[in-house]
């Protein structure tokens, strides 16, 4: 027992020492992602985004060689994420923590980042409060209120006066429900009802039938990507809800490429809000999609750009602070960083360390016999409204 205690004290002391054991000019990044389990595909896309950025830049960030240590959380698993972050910091001596597809895991690792003073880049997890949990954290994805409040306000301005909200009963779902309802009511619309749906839910017929009974002008949906959007689309088709008549609104997941393929023509007319789509019409994105396809044989999605831009941010920060790898220098350099991404111009808010970017409203249309998201409105430089409200 005594020896164990001593070892623990030793480890703790070691973690307080500045990481002096690095080879000159190498930056070590610890990636924490759910490489296996239900969210494996999210991890794959983020990881491929990171790999592509590194490949395009000769495997160097800010002129330094890059060494990546990958850790698998296996899904939503905060204690494991925290332990992995601790191991990365104390045993592997990483300089930067990155990845983080899922909110609970990001929150757990944030404590480690704050205590060990390590720069942490959140490449996907989208709950608004995450970035408040460590002063060394920046985010390159989006926040749930950022896209959903924009969507709600837009929908009300464009003639939707009544809405029914359907969200999955988990963190991001409840976040989205709150954001949408708040912004929709503030704009003057009325929310006629809402439902929180089971997380494990292979069949949506009962929930969709309830929505149909109320006959609202629009239905807002927030469900996790993966198998559920397809199932939701089919339930809609079976109940006879036509997105071209009853407006169906949601976050990017419900109309991503795979969801559209599995829903088929019933998806036509669905309106989503998001920060990226592989069809975005700008030269940089065209190049990005081409390179991504060449290496990974599929289209990038918003997860991929989260990883790609997260790596880009690390690159910018290391360049700006002259290769210093401590948390204080890196976060100072990251604040206010701005760059061009395949998603359009973006930057890091110097006050909140959160992402500022264009939010696109897209509609599913059939172009050349293929269902795609067509941009119908775009809002540049949107900040996270949740933290803006917190500061007031």
């Amino acid at each position: 027992m005594k020896r164990l205690l001593l070892a623990g004290v030793g480890l703790f002391a070691a973690s307080l020492l500045p990481a002096a054991s690095h080879a000159q000019g190498t930056v070590k990044i610890g990636l924490i992602l759910p490489y296996s389990g239900q969210f494996a595909d999210t991890a794959t896309q983020i990881d491929d985004g990171i790999k592509l950025y590194l490949k395009q830049h000769g495997n160097k960030l800010g002129g330094m060689n890059v060494e990546i240590v990958r850790k698998d959380t296996g899904g939503i698993n905060p204690p494991v994420a925290k332990r992995l972050a601790e191991e990365l910091v104390t045993r592997d001596n990483v300089d930067i923590l990155a990845g983080f597809a899922l909110t609970p895991n990001a929150l757990a690792a944030a404590e480690v980042s704050a205590q060990a003073k390590k720069f942490m880049v959140v490449m996907n997890a989208a709950t608004a409060i995450i970035t408040t949990k460590s002063p060394y954290m920046a985010r390159t994805s989006f926040t749930v209120p950022q896209v959903n409040e924009t969507l709600a306000t837009w929908a009300e301005k464009n003639g939707d006066k009544s809405a029914y909200t359907m969200v999955t009963d988990y963190g991001p779902g409840i976040d989205a429900e709150t954001a949408f309802q708040k912004a929709f009511s503030a704009a003057g619309g009325s929310v006629v009802g809402s439902v929180r749906m089971a997380v494990q839910n292979p069949d949506f017929s009962a929930y969709v039938q309830r929505a149909k009974d109320l006959n609202p002008q629009s239905i807002f949906v927030m469900i996790p990507g993966g198998s559920q959007p397809g199932a939701f689309g089919k339930a809609m088709a079976e109940r006879g809800i036509d997105p071209r008549k009853t407006e169906v609104l949601g976050q990017a997941e419900i109309a991503d490429e795979h969801a559209l393929a599995s829903m088929g023509d019933v998806a036509e007319g669905i309106i989503t809000s998001g920060n990226y789509d592989y069809n975005l019409d700008n030269p940089m994105n065209k190049e990005f999609v081409k390179d991504y396809n060449a290496d990974y044989n599929r289209n990038p999605d918003f997860f991929s750009v989260g990883g790609y831009d997260g790596t880009h941010l690390i690159d910018i920060a290391l360049t700006k602070d002259g290769g210093k790898t401590d948390g204080d220098s890196l976060i100072a350099a990251a604040k206010g960083a701005s760059w061009d991404s395949p998603r359009g111009p973006m930057s890091i808010d110097p006050e909140t360390r959160d992402v500022i970017e264009t939010v696109y409203i897209r509609k599913v249309e059939k172009v050349n016999d293929k269902l795609v998201n067509v941009t119908i409105a775009s809002f540049p430089n949107v900040k996270d409204p949740f933290k803006a409200a917190m500061q007031k």
Partner: protein, 287 residues
């Protein structure tokens, strides 16, 4: 015009039949052979990938892929049965669980390696995705077909097990293996065929479920819980028990989500607990 309760009943029954199709193979392996096969949904996943691959890469029509899903899952499972399973027929429950959960994890990794981690859509023709309107209610064509297939499988299995020579051999072999061998029954072959039947049914169920629940490598784990619930509520060793249990669970799940969505997610487990407290051996359990 029919009141909405009929719609709820239909949807619930259809959902129950989906659960039944996924778990009927398990009520053969776990229920009849008494082998705890957690890898059941891995064989279902194999059937699902078979159907998707044949349709997207070779342009086969949906219904032609179904027998293939059955046969491939059955053939692969015989390989596993000869190599691994048969060594553990008389082993403890824990050994069986450890072996099969290992197979589940391996199958998840292999599926991710071969097919990738993304969702695989099933390119069904439009007529299968349409619905019929009858007395003011909409009935989805695909759900009607699922119900028909589930009923046909139940009838066939019950007849096979209860009234054929093969069924009698299986029951004899499970109940008293030594005696069965003594009577000249080829127990090894009987078990191999029964296991293949169970896994083939898993493959078929998986293929039919893809359209509703989607398909990615986590399929092998995600739906395992539902399968175990259906088989244990139905009662070990009873095909018709699984059928009734699936219908009951499906209807209560859909009705719960429709009328009281706040607790809808828990209702299926609540029903399971109540039913198992009332009948610990399941509705039609014999053992």
């Amino acid at each position: 015009m029919l009141p909405p309760i009929f719609g709820v009943l239909f949807d619930g029954f259809a959902y129950g039949m989906l659960l039944f199709l996924l778990s009927v193979g398990q009520s053969v392996t776990l229920g009849m052979m008494n082998f705890i096969n957690l890898a059941h949904c891995s064989f279902a996943m194999l059937g699902g990938y078979m159907t998707v691959a044949l349709m997207t890469h070779y342009g086969w029509p949906f219904f032609a892929t179904l027998p293939c899903a059955f046969i491939v899952a059955a053939v692969v499972s015989v390989g596993f049965e000869r190599l691994f399973y048969r060594r553990l027929y008389r082993a403890s429950d824990l050994d069986q669980v450890l072996l099969t959960i290992g197979i589940v994890f391996i199958s998840v990794a292999v599926a991710a390696y071969i097919f990738g981690t993304e969702q695989k859509p099933l390119p069904l023709p439009e007529y299968l995705r349409s619905s019929l309107t009858f007395l003011g209610l909409r009935f989805a064509v695909y759900r009607l077909i699922m119900i028909a297939i589930a009923l046909a499988i139940t009838a066939l299995l019950v007849l096979t097990v209860e009234y054929t020579r093969f069924g009698a051999r299986v029951r004899a072999a499970v109940d008293n293996e030594r005696m069965a061998r003594g009577l000249g029954i080829d127990v090894d072959r009987t078990f191999a065929i029964t296991f293949a039947l169970g896994s083939g049914l898993a493959g078929l169920g998986g293929a039919l479920a893809v359209e509703i629940v989607g398909l990615d490598p986590s399929f092998a784990l995600t739906y395992l819980v539902y399968v175990l619930i259906v088989v244990s509520v139905g009662g070990l060793g009873s095909i018709s028990g699984s059928f009734v249990a699936a219908a009951l669970l499906g209807i209560s799940d859909v009705a719960g989500k429709y009328y009281v969505p706040a607790i809808g997610a828990f209702l299926i487990y609540l029903v399971m607990i109540v039913l198992l407290m009332w009948r610990p051996r399941g509705l039609f359990g014999r053992r």
